[in-house]
């Protein structure tokens, strides 16, 4: 790649394993010989609130935060959360979105509806939108909790990192007994 820096946004809800997923992604970029920075907010946001992680990579990265209108790839770990950050994307951005829904308090209480036709809104505004039922695929791979790695698998198809690099990073990121199911989840996402 040239001088440019590329940006990815991972978005979802506290407890979905977003930070772990973005760690794995960063290590894959590192192993691929690139500079990488990422940024996220801990603390309050972890009690079921919104969680985002910016990942930026290239030959030399300064800012760990991307600016509005500059993100090339959005990975949404919850369906509705994809809508919240569309102003961060470039016009030609790619969106990978899970069909999993987690209701926020206002929806639970019946005060606000869960937005309908999210996917069609995304498709109307962006050319490349990939839907994926991450939790279902993770279940099939053997562990519901690996939905985050399913999504990583799905993203990997849009990034210039070779499969063995991903695999070696995943192997290093989990305790031995969880490596197999996570590799399977990654593969599920990659071929979905």
């Amino acid at each position: 790649m040239g001088k440019e820096v590329k940006s990815i946004l991972l978005a979802g809800v506290g407890g979905q394993g977003i930070l772990r997923a973005s760690d794995i992604m960063c290590m894959a970029f590192m192993e691929a010989g690139l500079d990488v920075k990422k940024s996220e907010v801990h603390g309050m946001a972890q009690r079921g609130g919104c969680v985002t992680s910016h990942v930026r990579y290239g030959h030399k990265v300064y800012s760990p935060l991307a600016q509005l209108g500059s993100i090339d790839l959005l990975v949404s770990f919850e369906k509705m959360e994809s809508l919240r950050y569309l102003n961060y994307l470039t016009k030609d951005a790619t969106i990978i979105v899970t069909t999993d829904e987690i209701y926020p308090p206002a929806v639970n209480m019946g005060d606000a509806p869960y937005p309908e036709d999210i996917i069609s809104v995304l498709k109307k505004n962006f050319k490349l939108v990939k839907e994926i039922d991450a939790t279902d695929l993770a279940k099939k791979a053997g562990n519901v909790k690996a939905a985050n790695v399913v999504l990583l698998g799905a993203v990997s198809g849009y990034l210039d990192i070779k499969q063995p690099v991903w695999e070696s990073v995943i192997e290093k990121s989990f305790p031995e007994k969880l490596v197999k199911v996570n590799l399977a989840s990654f593969q599920m996402g990659r071929s979905a």
Binding site: S39, H42, G43, P64, Q67, G69, L83, N87, P105, N108
Partner: protein, 586 residues
Amino acid sequence: MKVLMSGNEAIARGMYEAGIRFAAAYPGTPSTEILEEFAKYDGVYAEWSPNEKVALEVAIGAALAGEKAVAVMKHVGVNVAADPLFTVSYTGINGALVIISADDPSLHSSQNEQDNRNYAKFAKIPMLEPADAQEAKEFIKLAFTISEKFDTPVFLRSTTRVSHSKSVVSLEEPIPYIDKTAITYNTTKYVMVPANARIRRVAVEKRTLALKTFANSFPENKLEINNPDVGIITAGMPYNYAKDVFPDYSYLKLGMVYPLPEKLIREFAAKVKKIYVIEELDQFLEEQIKAMGISVIGKEIFPYTNEFDPGIIQNAINNQNKATDLPVKSIPPRPPNLCPGCPHRGLFYTLNKLKLFVTGDIGCYTLSFMKPLEGLHSCICMGASIGMAHGMSKALKEKGKGKIVGVIGDSTFIHSGITPLLNMAYNKSNAVIIICDNSTTAMTGMQEHPATGYTLLGEKTKQLDLKVLVSALGIDNIRVVDPYDLKNTRAVIKEELAKDGPSVVISQRPCVLFKRAKLKAQKPLQVDPEKCTGCKVCLGLGCPPISWKKMEKKEGSKREGVSVIDENLCNGCGLCLQVCKFEAIK
């Protein structure tokens, strides 16, 4: 070796590499992981102190004994530690002392957005500010060098974006620890009575002058002369934002934000046509540079509030606004919430039903101010709930009788609730204080404290007995309730509100995320859709698994929907079962 590290991990690593083995802290986002990470290294002494003032005093003591010591806190923690801070600046240190302040521009998880660079100037203590993890690791080492060389405490300032962003860090071999500790006496230097302090006061001014000179040659105050049309003076993370959008401008990147290198700034000003000062929050650099008679552009175009990003800097300098609108406007908000099964829920549900004024405090339970619990009505700072409850009930006199409750978490009570509770007994208060004892410091991620019976290093220790402590402070009415038992919790609080004199109710049940409490997973509950009348009372608990499902209205029925429990989220705490009047939950 290169690894990916957060700023906080890198600071801990830097401490270890520099042969530092002593640190004290009180947790607080975004600083918490520094000590958690440091504690994992071999041979270190690291402690959670009960609050930041104690943490700093512990570090001062260690430094007085010849140790190189660190005190770590979030920005507001420095307020708590401010008393020793201002005077340790006078005494100087014997070993070495670094105070890490982690600021939180944008208030991601704080009650205010104070800019702690002001403390450096106010207390006349030099301050370093790294811009990423690699620098964080190096700057902590430089901070110790400066501390030893100038006999001064040194600040290392981080911000949320430095502490919690990750970047590539090169690791180095740690230098071995050298034990230089000994008892030495130097009372004119360490006994700050007026006569001695007046002398030290002069020493402080001399030291600041020496540091000003040093700043001009400090290698982390860096000139980068590129395009001479525009020069940027900046420090910390904003340097990265600016470089991202203006890589070709000239820069003066300050690694030391106090005191400023006047000669270097003048040199820079002579080399560029126009200068922008880019800094988040206060006009800290700008004011001082303008006072040197150098003309710069700063807060005329950059915001005072919130953290920056590359776009904010680009928009300000190019006088443009690139913001794009969201295609969908009404996206339901997703605020943080109490976990399913959180012991705080039952308590605040009860407080709301009793229609009281609840002075609150800081912790997970602060979240219960929101709909639908709405069980907390003020939050200022750690420990404030107790003094405020007392003040309100004194001011309201009869009008406040039986109406004022102060609520405080166990970690927060130990942090700064003990003295105000003593005051309630002493000054004959009438309010009721509730200690939400969930056996941990939950909000910041489950840290130990004196009432958990374990230390940061994982050792078992003397466990504080809250009941005994409260009694020793002079409180005669002490009750313990289980907040999972709504009926009894309500009855006990009502009884205590009816009494004369102060009462303390300890609402006791471990946090659901707590590792040591052997909490049996209860069976998830279910709503029987036949029995549910759709009254929505259970929704008033604001419990994440309970949601409302709209239905077609049937002939002759008022029912518009039913409650549903998501079995994947429910942990079976049984609160909803207690509030349902129709026995529809099993």
